[in-house]
């Protein structure tokens, strides 16, 4: 079975500062990795995904993540955050051929401070 650990439940950061949201996963097989964002009272929106190939993945809204197989990590980064980035961010994993069952972490609340 796969699991995801998001190391920070809340991350406060000042506007225009850089941010990193940490994610580690556990799996005995190769995986697909995702980051989703959830704004208040809304569903989930995909920020970016890693399926294969380049380990640096660029997503929407200026976010990027790097897949590190040796450290089983998939940290999310943004060089300069905006107030509108305040939301909850979920790291998730699925298994190739696993019919897209996605296992989510518990989420990290990003609070951007003006």
């Amino acid at each position: 079975a796969q699991s995801v650990t998001q190391l920070d439940s809340q991350v406060p950061v000042f506007e225009e500062a850089p941010v990193e949201l940490r994610c580690n996963y556990s799996s005995s097989v190769s995986v697909y990795l995702f980051w989703y964002v959830q704004y208040p009272n809304q569903g989930l929106q995909l920020l970016l995904k890693y399926l294969s190939g380049s380990t640096l993945v660029k997503g929407i809204n200026g976010f990027e993540a790097e897949f590190n197989k040796s450290q089983t990590s998939f940290h999310l980064r943004k060089p300069s955050v905006h107030i509108s980035d305040t939301a909850e961010y979920f790291c998730a994993v699925s298994v190739p051929g696993g019919y897209q069952k996605v296992t989510f972490g518990i989420g990290t609340k990003l609070q951007v401070i003006p």
Partner: protein, 112 residues
Amino acid sequence: DAGVTQSPTHLIKTRGQQVTLRCSPKSGHDTVSWYQQALGQGPQFIFQYYEEEERQRGNFPDRFSGHQFPNYSSELNVNALLLGDSALYLCASSWTGPNEQFFGPGTRLTVL
């Protein structure tokens, strides 16, 4: 394209009752997955439907059941509701294969 739609938006039930939640997938998608998101938690996979069959199931009791219709829309049914079933229920649709899942806005279920 309306994206993934879910109904109702909110629902209040009492313990022991039964509830049906509905989901219409994004146009062109043939696979529907359901997730339960309890307050302060990440979404938990309930089950997935493809070609009107339950293809995969998470660790949820048989009180949770579903259906997929020929037009790919889907229903989630929960019987004998418990207080612990209070959560946001999310529907996600996709094409079969390693494709992005598109999520609906969810149905907020409150069990009193």
